[in-house]
């Protein structure tokens, strides 16, 4: 893309990488938590529910700072992960973690709703046919909740693409490492004459967001058509 400068292109590529990893890694966990909240009663359910939603209501800067305290180079957990070869602070991996945490509540909400919409009678029928809990989940609940899971994943991806506050607090704004799309737009706006580059990135942001939305809509429609047995 000749009309994009190398710096801008770098930011776009990095954002896609960060958001993809954030979505892929948090999706199974989000499905598990959503299923737990939708189908199980356990002590402390409200606490779990609150914790999941916390990133949605906390100022992103606070979330970023908490991440820095937990995973920073001097923190125990951060040091441990660095020794294991997975440093997070001021790395793109940290940006992915921040993006995943910020998108998590949105994912869980969408997936939980779609799991709650699955008829428990069908799950009971599967159990009478010999399916264990895990098999019921894999063969009945999961496929029937798929449209909602796709929607949740896209929502999480879009949130990850746009995450700014927690990311910049946790991993700063290092070109090529942690300067994602929003950070790049912010940086270009800070320097004189950077406005045209910022506008180009804004246009790209809009295209990616719209593309994701349309893709999820089409996918969900195709899946739900299949589910209804049409």
């Amino acid at each position: 893309m000749s009309w994009l400068g190398p710096e801008e292109w770098q930011a776009v590529a990095l954002s896609l990488k960060v958001a993809s990893w954030a979505t892929l890694l948090s999706l199974p966990f989000a499905i598990w938590v959503a299923h737990l909240l939708a189908r199980r009663d356990f002590p402390g359910k409200q606490v779990v529910n609150g914790l999941v939603h916390l990133p949605l209501i906390l100022p992103p800067v606070v979330t970023g700072y908490l991440l820095l305290l937990t995973f920073g180079g001097t923190a125990h957990l951060g040091a441990l992960l660095t020794n294991l070869g997975l440093p997070l602070a001021f790395r793109w991996t940290g940006a992915a973690l921040a993006a995943a945490i910020m998108g998590f509540p949105l994912m869980v909400r969408a997936i939980r709703l779609s799991i709650e919409a699955v008829d428990t009678h069908l799950e009971a029928a599967a159990a009478t046919l010999g399916a264990s809990r895990l098999q019921v989940f894999a063969t009945v609940t999961l496929p029937l909740a798929l449209p909602g899971i796709i929607a949740g994943a896209i929502l999480g991806f879009a949130k990850a693409m746009g995450e700014f506050g927690a990311t910049i607090t946790f991993v700063a704004n290092i070109p090529g490492e942690t300067r994602t799309l929003p950070s790049a737009i912010y940086s270009f706006l800070q320097v004189p004459g950077g406005e045209t580059a910022a506008v180009r990135l804004v246009v790209i942001s809009i295209i990616i967001a719209m593309g994701a939305l349309i893709a999820s809509e089409l996918l969900a429609r195709r899946v739900s058509k299949r589910m209804e047995g049409a």
Partner: protein
């Protein structure tokens, strides 16, 4: 009696009422009969393992499914119960073939082609295999659901009001399959219903429930010909007699014989010689002390009053011993008095031919 096919003992507080249900079911088809709120659903859920907090003991042949004394509650998936639900509950994201094959795929068992073909032929669903479940009619859905339960190789078939959601024509479509399950299979069937006509056609054994307890238990003929047993609606009272097809007449009637007495019914599509069970609704029986003459009704059974049960309202139910078996008649208390109908009185029971609906005639009992 040898070891019962199914043995149920359930006690305790369930959903706001006291449950005390104990029965042993012999092989064949056992109908659990009662109005809603009688405790049927509690029994079904306990047998299927969907209620993991039931108290009591349930055994299937030699297998104990549940025993709260030893805190044993086998999970649903290990009970091998072929559950046929009222609403079919086919998986909407699978076609008919995958629905039928679900239990085998879950168990990772090899395909038993002989059994597969037998079930599909019996239910006549071969042409539906590649169809989506949403496009099936109600009757087709229920046939597929029966097939899916059978192909799971169950030790018990549990049918919970399987016809309640179907219209009359669809009911007639499905009923014969349950008759075949009863007559061909060696799998015991526990069949839940509140419809007396289904009891009459299907039951080998009847367990009648009311307010959480067993009020009557026995063969269908015994339970249904007890005049003191009013199953919910008094209009559904009726006994069952056994008959066999003699011949079909040109005017559309079928001649049966029951205990040496000829009976004429609207055409029944069965070959001469076939044994049938026929339900005679008590309200369709007219009693006469003299042998009637000049009457349009074609069926007249001589008999003797066996029991008189006076109801709370204006009606009474009498059981009449006839050569064809015991039948019930519902008349007014006034007639009982006017005709001095007491035990031992000889009379004639008249049954109007067209009153016997196709749904009241079923296949052989055993």
């Amino acid at each position: 009696m040898t070891q019962p096919a199914l043995s149920v003992q359930l006690t305790g507080q369930r959903n706001g009422f006291l449950l005390d249900v104990r029965f042993d079911a012999p092989p064949g088809l056992t109908v659990l009969f009662g109005a809603s709120g009688s405790g049927k659903t509690s029994v079904v859920n306990a047998v299927a393992g969907l209620d993991q907090h039931a108290t009591g003991r349930i055994a299937l042949g030699g297998h104990v499914l549940m025993d709260s004394a030893t805190n044993l509650h086998l999970p649903t998936q290990d009970r091998r119960i072929g559950y046929i639900f009222q609403d079919a509950r086919l998986f909407p994201h699978m076609n008919v073939r995958r629905n039928l094959d679900y239990a085998r795929r879950i168990a990772r068992a090899p395909l038993d082609t002989t059994e597969w073909n037998r079930v599909i032929d019996m239910l006549g669903i071969g042409h539906l295999l590649d169809r989506r479940t949403a496009n099936l009619s109600g009757g087709e859905k229920q046939r597929v659901a029966i097939g899916r339960a059978l192909l799971a190789k169950p030790r018990l078939i549990l049918a919970d009001e399987p016809l309640a959601a179907l219209d009359e024509a669809r009911k007639q479509e499905i009923l014969p399959y349950f008759e075949r399950l009863r007559d061909e299979g060696d799998i015991p069937v526990l069949y839940v219903t509140h419809a007396a006509s289904e009891v009459a056609r299907l039951a080998t054994t009847v367990v009648a429930l009311d307010q959480g307890g067993v009020v009557k238990q026995g063969t269908a003929a015994d339970v249904l010909s007890d005049p003191s047993f009013i199953p919910g609606d008094v209009r559904s009272v009726g006994a069952v007699i056994e008959a066999y097809v003699v011949t079909h007449h040109e005017d559309g009637l079928t001649e049966l014989e029951a205990g040496g007495i000829p009976l004429h019914l609207p055409r029944i599509a069965r070959d001469p010689g076939t044994r049938l069970r026929v339900r005679i609704a008590a309200q369709d029986v007219i009693l006469s002390r003299d042998k009637p003459k000049g009457l349009s009704a074609l069926n007249c059974l001589p008999g003797k009053v066996d029991q008189v049960h006076l109801g709370d309202g204006p009606g009474a139910v009498l059981s009449i011993k006839t050569p064809a078996g015991r039948i019930l008649a519902r008349v007014t208390k006034r007639s009982v008095k006017a005709m001095s109908l007491t035990e031992g009185v000889q009379l004639h029971a008249i049954i109007k031919t067209v009153a016997v609906a196709p749904g009241d005639v079923g296949g052989p009992k055993d």
